[in-house]
Amino acid sequence: MSNSSTTVDIRQTPQGRLGMWILIAGELIIFGGLIACYLLNRIRYPEWGMEAVHTSTFFGALNTAVLLLSSFTIVLAHTAANNMKPRKAQMYMMLTIIGGLLFLVNKSIEYSREISEGLTFSSPKLVASGKEVGSLFWSFYYIMTGLHALHVVVGMTVIFIIMLQIRKGNNLHRVELAGMYWHMVDLIWIFLFPLLYIAK
């Protein structure tokens, strides 16, 4: 009812896109704060390299590839939506969701391996053996990847909801918004991957 003909929308940027940009900026600042805290500690504690050895570069790289691919499929969904092809857009969105699922499966395999080695949020085993500082690395590892995984879940949910909404060819512009959010999720991972997996 508020989008009735009497409303004057004189600005050109669609307001959904504008809102999404602001949301993304906010999210990036949250992760930026977290990454800054991590870096400050990382510089302070060279012994964190000994802990980073236990993260699996293979799984990290695999997940990077999965996310990049899913970013590609959501771009294809956006293109399809622009060409008014809701069926095709839905298919690519489904592929993106599958990519997200794959990411989460990989991540949980990783988590369970690390947890079975006693490397957890508070790593009592490390603390008991006098490596308190090492346990802090794992606290950061879990909070950063965990918060990111939460965003993956949110992104998948958003894509799923929009996938249902465009069924009848309506609201096709929302595919772009889902895509923007998904790119952000991808971008954050691009930062986390080298920080947690490559720098040993």
Partner: protein
């Protein structure tokens, strides 16, 4: 909307409404209710300070632990659950759509969600008083290690830790931040995208500018603290060591994250109130706002500076002296744009034909009181003096002289000014003026003497000064009693406001469309504006402050008037 008011149930219309005016009202009511809670806490601990150990009327005995809980929650409530909703959310919701000339916010559903998350956050905060161990009592800044280890029993399981006062406070604050972020997205997008035709950037009223700048500052500054709150919550609940020095963590890191947000937050609260002044002063001096554009530029400048002064709160937590100098200089520089804004306000009044209406009185009172707060802030900005005055009642008096005028005088000025527009009834003028004078007199009675107690060395987090020889003597003990009497009278004088409100709602005269002869767009539509605000969307031809323009019949030119 074209086919008139379609049927809405009571719940759709007043509870889960997406109308920005209803949401603004909900925020105002929630904020005022929380102000009652915060005021009651203040009454209890002020009474305890003046008469330690005595039974407190309406409460009973206050234990030292409860004392800590009460001062902590008083601070939290007044800043995040009174100041933020009243100034930012309520004013933003009422004013932005009507002043830029549109029907509603850009994302009405998000807006509704924003309020309900805020509502839940208030409940979570108050709920903490009823969990085992009570609400958190380690100061509103929640510094670790105190906050990270704030349990009643030494080895709590996950759920005990999660339902401790400290965790609940963190959760409540996190929810509140989410609500404010959602509101901020709406404010900014609405202003950018939904302005009426002709409403160019420099025709937007000052308060809309200032609420938007405040929202952007908030969004930028709060991010790292959201991450920090998450880390602290994990420290409490699952035993991580982010802020635990014994585990390699760093408690000072929390202070940085907290104040990186905490200082800009001051401007988030200040800018909307300055915006209120920017609307009220021109109307009641019948003059254009002096240096409108420069005021906006100064606000933008201060917004940028606001994120590089935070460590002035940490001069005593062990900071590199070279950094301390940097932050001292930054702090003193940031007072320049605000001094500029206040001078521009003075210049607006200069030579005007001033009408001392109730909103104008509150606006002028704001300027007078804030001056005291601002000047004592300059003292505290220099680290040499700050180290002496840190955590003393000097600081308490200082920030009450800034925040009280800001939150309450700013809100009341706005309330008396826009009430006729948004409720559609005229408030009682005499009661309004009585309310102003009582509030001003008793506010000063409450806080002025505390400067002296602070300079005498009274520390702010002590519940009973009879054990401290240096301040447990005349005149300081008498000062304590005067402050308490002042605080009680200050609270009681708010009943004048309540009486005025009830009286007006029951038998107030219907308000005119434009009772103050103001120029901005909200005065063009009916009082109160209906769902959708305008019959036809206004077109804007001029800036917001065209008062006493030479050569025209009226002494004001509404923004939508062509010639």
């Amino acid at each position: 909307m074209e086919n008139g008011q379609h049927q809405q149930s009571f719940i759709q219309k007043y509870i889960f409404s997406t109308d920005h005016k209803v949401i603004g009202m909900q925020y105002a009511i929630n904020g005022l209710l929380m102000a009652i809670a915060g005021g009651f806490l203040a009454y209890v601990f002020r009474y305890n300070l003046a008469f330690p150990g005595k039974d407190i009327p309406l409460f009973g005995q206050l234990s030292p632990m409860q004392y800590n809980t009460f001062i902590t929650n008083h601070g939290m409530i007044m800043v995040f659950w009174v100041g933020m909703p009243l100034l930012l959310s309520s004013l933003g919701n009422f004013l932005i759509p009507t002043m830029v000339g549109t029907d509603d916010m850009a994302f009405p559903t998000l807006n509704m969600l924003s309020f309900w998350i805020f509502f839940v956050s208030s409940i979570v905060l108050l709920l903490a008083f009823f969990v085992p161990g009570g609400a958190y009592g380690g100061g509103w800044t929640m510094y670790p290690p105190l906050s990270a280890n704030a349990y009643m029993n030494p080895n709590p399981d996950f759920f005990q830790a999660l339902f401790s006062g400290a965790s609940l406070m963190l959760l409540a604050v996190a929810l509140e931040f989410v609500a404010m972020l959602m509101g901020g997205i709406n404010f900014v997008v609405t202003t950018i995208n939904k302005r009426a035709k002709g409403m160019t950037a420099f025709r937007i009223p000052l308060i809309v500018w200032f609420i938007d700048i405040a929202s952007v500052i908030f969004m930028f500054a709060v991010g790292p603290l959201v991450a920090g709150a998450f880390m602290l919550l994990l420290d409490i609940t699952v035993g991580t060591g982010f802020f635990d020095a014994a585990r390699g963590g760093d408690p000072i890191l929390w202070q940085h994250l907290f104040w990186f947000f905490g200082h800009p937050e001051v401007y988030v609260l200040l800018l909307p109130s300055l915006g209120v002044l920017g609307e009220i002063l021109p109307v009641f001096s019948r003059k254009p706002l002096f240096a409108y554009k420069s005021i906006i530029y100064m606000a933008l400048f201060s917004a940028v500076l606001s994120v590089v002064v935070w460590a002035h709160h940490q001069f005593v937590s062990g900071i590199d002296p070279r950094m301390a100098t940097f932050f001292s200089i930054g702090t003193i520089i940031i007072s320049i744009p605000f001094a500029g804004i206040f001078l521009a306000f003075m210049a607006t009044l200069w030579g005007g034909s001033i009408k001392f209406t109730t909103p104008m009185l509150f606006a002028l009172g704001f300027i007078g009181l804030f001056l005291v707060g601002g000047l004592t802030g300059l003292f505290l900005g220099s680290n040499a003096f700050d180290i002496y005055a840190h955590d003393s009642y000097f600081v308490v008096a200082h920030f009450h002289y800034t925040l009280f005028p800001d939150i309450f005088f700013g809100f009341f000025a706005a309330f008396y000014y826009w009430f006729p527009k948004f409720v559609g009834k005229d408030l009682d003028k005499t009661l309004g003026k009585i309310h102003f004078w009582l509030t001003t007199i008793f506010f000063n009675l409450t806080f002025f003497l505390l400067f002296f107690n602070g300079l005498a060395g009274e520390h702010r987090r002590i519940n009973n000064y009879s054990f401290f020889g240096n301040v447990n003597k005349e005149p300081y003990t008498t000062f304590e009693k005067i402050c308490t009497v002042g605080a009680i009278l200050l609270i009681l004088s708010q009943f004048v406001f309540v009486i005025n409100l009830i009286k007006t709602l029951r038998s107030g005269k219907k308000a005119a469309k434009n009772p103050w002869n103001a120029t901005t767009l909200e005065w063009v539509t009916d009082s109160p504006p209906k769902h959708g605000n305008f019959d036809t969307f206004p077109v804007v031809y001029r800036g917001p402050y065209e008062y006493s323009v030479p050569g025209c019949n009226e002494d004001y030119l509404p923004q939508n008037q062509e010639n």
